[in-house]
């Protein structure tokens, strides 16, 4: 039988030669033929770990172009900058402390309260990066048709963002610790003095990281577009900070007292308030209106983490693949 294409007057297209060209470089030397894989196959935990590692690299732009690294590293750098400056000048401060000066230096317990907006921007920039790409470019079916469950996917993504935030938030605490130790003349004694003050940073930082990560990721997961997700995070946080504050001031003038309870719904204020609980510090009345205690804010923050994580998992149960 003749080639139907040529017979039908269709110009002979290049398929035959193209295939030859495509396979030729592999040629007789390199082409070992198709080999089946009989090696080890790991299970779900390994898949989750692989996604976790990939997510973590994605948050920081590792293995990606410089443009992808810019936002996370600049924000993390800015967040740590005040602490690093204090570390750099610790010898100068040490002389002045020795001379008897009272210096108002940076503290562990209110560092996040002063610079939280940088960590917040980090979430706005990087949380959509983690979850929007896969929805926008329809990569999810590839994950969900592998041995990766939907919940596994959500948890791996969340874990990597939380760890990234933890590193970002913990870096200045570490710098403060080193700086404070260097300011003392007796380093060993200084470690003993400083450590109890610094240690609450670890649980406080973990809580803030989990709180910001779960909230921003849950909101991001609802849109495949980065811009919408980012706007969604900003809008949610601004509104949930502003509305209780507005209702509280209305309540104050109206004589109502219960309106300060609404502050448990504030996402960032609650987290800041909760960090004070770990340090055993009183809430600064300038920053915290109303009569809520740091313990209440801690409960509110944990509640927010639970709800946001549940929303995230729920979203990934429903997201079409």
């Amino acid at each position: 039988m003749t080639d139907p294409k040529r017979a039908a007057g269709v110009p002979a297209t290049a398929p035959a030669t193209a295939i030859a060209a495509a396979t030729a470089p592999a040629g007789s030397i390199y082409d070992l033929g198709y080999r089946h894989y009989n090696g080890k196959r790991n299970g779900r935990g390994y898949a989750m770990w692989s996604l976790f590692v990939e997510s973590f690299r994605g948050v920081w732009g590792l293995g990606r172009p410089m443009t992808a690294k810019a936002a996370p590293f600049i924000l993390a750098g800015l967040y740590a900058l005040p602490a690093v400056v204090q570390l750099a000048f610790s010898s100068v401060f040490a002389q002045r402390i020795a001379a008897g000066d009272q210096l108002q230096l940076l503290n562990y317990h209110n560092y996040f309260a002063d610079f939280y907006f940088l960590a917040f921007l980090f979430c706005v920039a990087q949380a959509p990066e983690l979850v929007c790409r896969d929805q926008r470019y329809h990569v999810l079916p590839l994950y969900f048709t592998r041995a990766m469950g939907r919940m596994t996917y959500a948890v791996a993504r969340l874990g990597s963002l939380a760890l990234s935030l933890f590193i970002l938030l913990a870096a200045p605490a570490l710098a403060l610790f080193v700086g404070d130790v260097l300011m003392q003349s007796d380093a060993f004694k200084a470690v003993g003095d400083e450590l109890p003050k610094a240690l609450p940073s670890i649980p406080a930082t973990a809580l803030v990281a989990a709180g910001l990560a779960s909230l921003s990721l849950a909101i991001s997961s609802f849109s495949p577009r980065r811009a919408y997700s980012a706007i969604g995070i900003v809008a949610y946080i601004l509104l949930m900070e502003a509305i209780p504050a507005a209702l509280y001031s209305i309540g104050q003038t109206g004589g109502g007292s219960w309106t300060d309870k609404l502050f448990v719904f504030t996402p960032v204020t609650s987290l800041i308030g909760a960090t004070y609980w770990f340090f055993g510090q009183p809430l600064d009345p300038q920053d915290f209106a109303g009569s809520l205690t740091s313990g209440t804010y801690l409960v509110a923050s944990i509640g927010s983490i639970v709800v946001a994580t549940a929303v995230l998992v729920y979203r990934y149960r429903r997201v079409p693949a």
């Binding site: 139907p4 039908a8 297209t13 089946h36 196959r41 790409r133 470019y137 590839l142």
Partner: protein, 306 residues
Amino acid sequence: MALIEASGLTKHYGPVKALEKLDLAVEPGIIGLVGANGAGKSTLLKILLGLVAPTSGTASVLGMDSVRETRAIRQIVGYMPEHDCLPPDVGATEFVTHMARISGLPRSAARERTAEVLRHVGLYEERYRQIGGYSTGMKQRVKLAQALVHDPKLLLLDEPTNGLDPAGRDEMLDLIKRTGTEFGIAVVVASHLLGEIEQVCTYLLAIDSGRLLQAAPISHFTRRVPVLAVEVEEGADRLAAALVAKGARARQDGARVLVAIESDALYDVVRDAVADLAVPLVRIRQERGRLEDLFRDDAAAPGSAQ
């Protein structure tokens, strides 16, 4: 053991009946799954993968139930979705390696398999470039590579030739054929283009509106006579009459004349008839087998349909 089995498989999306009481039993090979858009091809693939739960009925892959043994099935199945599924800002090597690891391959094995599979699908130097800059043909190759990287026993390909030019389409079909024959991997190819699928498949499943139309080895279908479509600006009726007069099975179809190609001599007959009648010729092309042909008993026999 049957590759794919289904009994009474039904899937309704609200009022939409995507699949309706489908019964199947298919042996390993290269299986073509043909149907018009919306016939239920993708739904069937998604049920086999456990992405979608059937409304009623059961389906199984290599004896494993699609609902209860989803994870075991996914270990041995590679899936190439119909739509784009590649992030643009990573290289093919990085992406396929990542997918291999998600499939459970250890790091070094993932790298090795990726290099091997990308070579098999025909991606060389460009595999380190970002996928966003790839042509559609290259993207389709990456999609196939990620489905192959964990060495599945069954490949499910949903419209693998979507958006490819004729050359790219033939290369993709050749790749599918090699995968099915040389690699010894069973393949299910879903497509709405019967003409493509019949080039590579050993077995054909035709579904329409969620129902099984035909299920038979390809040899059952290839007895069809190929059809030549002669498109003219005017005088299609005269040309058809002239061809019939010369003993060809021909039929007018609007501005075209469809001729059954029963022997090579027919090309000359057509050429002479066109020249004799001096009808303005637009083009002559081999008709790709069309799905409608399956719906008629006298498949692709235009002469008899006159």
